[in-house]
């Protein structure tokens, strides 16, 4: 369980987070949603101790962030930030290998090698294992970074917009893998997602943030509703059902009042060859 109590955060004179109290349950796939600038990354970075805690208290499985050595925390949680560009010229397998470093600290054993292989396999990186990071595509590099986080093998996985750069198939595969990690091996995942339907389809628990506050949280069913989402994003949203889960429709042509346009302009029609 991650327990966040009374956490506020300022950057300069701007208040970014306001007195947040939040408990993230173990063994669940948790989606963190909200508009740009809501404070999702800031909160995740505080939990991941990438940002010094200014006020309040955060515990990860009983470990107080402020009092636990960083190397111990690396065995409890793995993290992938929103905009980490890795400039090092490493091979894919070498990068993923560093995910095991918290465990072996320089002397990899058989278990470490197996974990690296499994992570490479899981992200379809086996054919790219000897390629340099600066010689693969953005999405492939993103997958390599994710594989490193997976290889770390921690109970908690904190991911900030992991679907960035991923195509439809790899996005789906990633969500399925995260769900599998949660349901199959009882681990816990917190992930920021912008496409709410990924939350709708896969998340067990959804936390919605806006303006530095948590505005709603609970099971996907309870949070992903028309009133909550419309208010959260200040845009009209329609929620249908599909496969017994919410399906959020928001790409339609609506006017300001939320009534659909009678007909899309010609330019918006696809040309079919």
């Amino acid at each position: 369980m991650i327990r966040i109590t009374g956490v506020s955060h300022r950057i300069g004179s701007a208040a970014i987070l306001h007195d947040i109290d939040l408990t993230l349950p173990r063994g669940k796939l948790i989606a963190l949603i909200g508009p740009n600038g809501a404070g999702k990354s800031t909160l995740l970075r505080l939990v991941a101790r990438l940002e010094p805690l200014q006020q309040g208290r955060i515990e990860v499985d009983g470990l107080d962030l402020a009092a636990t050595p960083t190397e111990r925390l690396a065995l409890a949680m793995a993290v992938m930030g929103q905009q980490t560009h890795i400039a090092s010229r490493l091979r894919v397998a070498e990068l993923v290998g560093f995910g095991r470093w918290p465990h072996h600290r320089g002397r990899p054993g058989a278990a470490d090698r197996a974990a690296v292989e499994a992570a490479l396999e899981a992200f379809g990186l086996a054919p790219l294992r000897h390629r340099f990071l600066d010689e693969i595509s953005g999405g492939q590099a993103q997958r390599a970074h994710l594989a490193m986080t997976f290889a770390q093998g921690t109970d908690w996985l904190l991911l900030d917009e992991p679907l960035n750069n991923l195509d439809m198939a790899h996005s789906r595969a990633l969500m399925a893998r995260l769900a599998d990690l949660v349901r199959g091996s009882g681990r816990s995942v917190v992930t920021v997602v912008h496409e709410v339907n990924y939350a709708a389809a896969w998340a067990d628990h959804v936390v919605a943030m806006k303006n530095g506050r948590v505005v709603a949280q609970g099971p996907a069913e309870a949070v992903l509703t028309e009133p909550v989402l419309s208010a959260l994003y200040d845009t009209p949203v329609e929620v249908a059902r599909h496969d017994d889960r919410p399906l959020v429709l928001h790409h339609h042509w609506h006017d300001q009042l939320g009534t659909p346009f009678p007909e899309a302009p010609d330019a918006a029609r696809p040309t079919v060859h």
Binding site: L50, E71, R72, G81, T84, I86, A87, R91, E94, P102
Partner: protein
């Protein structure tokens, strides 16, 4: 692929043999080993000189890898971070204030002073906008220039200009004899320490966030890196003077070929630095034989040539 290390090792061995054989006094395979004069030249001059060049080249190249991973910029070297000039400043200070201090005190002061200079450089780099990669080397050059000017000014005031000249001028190995180069072993040991901590430096180059996520104490690694770079610079500058470009170009070439997995690449970097410096030293001894051109001058030409080539032939994705 597999033949490469073999070829490289062979080239290095040939360079060593040439260095042992070449000099004003002729010694060669025909001069029977153990003959008094030959053995004397070999043990007192040629061997120390060759060892000094190898140690210096290896240590500087490894220090280059370390400073590049500390600032995450490939365009800096231990000679463009103000480190050598800071070492000279420390040595000058101790010479003025405590002329009778034993040599080890002087070296400790020089190293500490080099560390302060490196720390200053890192502080400046932290404040630069991340995207402006070229500001980092420029900042280093400006800092080196300022500290170098301070050293020159103080030395001039104290009438010690000739004395500091040997540190700030282009380095050379012609004065190296047994008993006058042994401090370079300390530089070699510092480079060895860097290899010991290679994974940490490699993880540090992944960025502060990734490093923290992997449980690395970034401050500790930064400090260790500063110690390595400063000790290497201090020992080299005070023993043989400024040696440019080795710490800049060798890590770049090796990274292009084998990447940044430092555990594997640091030994190659060390061998490359040793080989490059030895080749340049030999060149300096041959070109105007029996006179010598300082290796620092040779490197100024060769090194800048290699560097320009590196700049204009960027790797596939820069």
């Amino acid at each position: 692929m597999t033949a490469r290390p073999l070829v490289a090792g062979l080239v290095l061995a040939l360079l060593v043999l040439a260095s042992l054989g070449l000099g004003a006094a002729r010694i060669g395979p025909d001069a029977a080993a153990g003959e008094g004069w030959t053995a004397l030249v070999l043990m007192e001059s040629r061997l120390p000189r060759t060892l000094a060049v190898l140690l210096t080249g290896a240590a500087l190249a490894v220090a280059g890898v370390v400073i590049q991973s500390l600032v995450r910029n490939r365009f800096v070297g231990p000679d463009t971070a103000g480190t050598g000039e800071s070492a000279a400043l420390g040595l000058l200070a101790v010479t003025l204030l405590a002329p009778g201090a034993p040599i080890w005190v002087k070296m400790v002061v020089a190293s500490l002073s080099a560390m302060a200079g490196t720390a200053l450089f890192l502080q400046i780099v932290r404040r630069l906008p991340v995207r402006e990669v070229m500001l980092v080397p420029i900042a280093g050059l400006v800092l080196s220039g300022i500290i170098g000017a301070v050293v020159t000014w103080v030395a001039w005031q104290a009438d010690l200009l000739q004395f500091v000249g040997t540190w700030l001028m282009s380095g050379e190995f012609s004065g190296v004899i047994a008993g006058r180069y042994e401090l370079l072993w300390v530089a070699g040991a510092a480079a060895g320490l860097a290899w010991f901590a290679a994974d940490r430096f490699a993880i540090l180059s992944l960025g502060d966030e990734v490093a923290t996520g992997l449980g690395l104490s970034t401050r500790g690694v930064m400090r260790l890196g500063m110690v390595v770079v400063s000790v290497v610079s201090a020992m080299v500058v005070t023993t043989v003077g400024m040696i440019p470009f080795v710490g800049l170009v060798v890590p770049n070439i090796v990274a292009r070929i084998m990447g940044d997995n430092l555990r594997a690449s640091i030994p190659v970097v060390a061998a490359g630095g040793a080989g490059l410096l030895l080749a340049c030293d030999l060149l300096g001894r041959i070109v105007r034989h029996p006179y010598e051109i300082p290796v620092g001058t040779i490197l100024g030409v060769v090194g800048s040539g290699i560097f320009l080539w590196l700049l204009y032939r960027p790797p596939a994705h820069g």
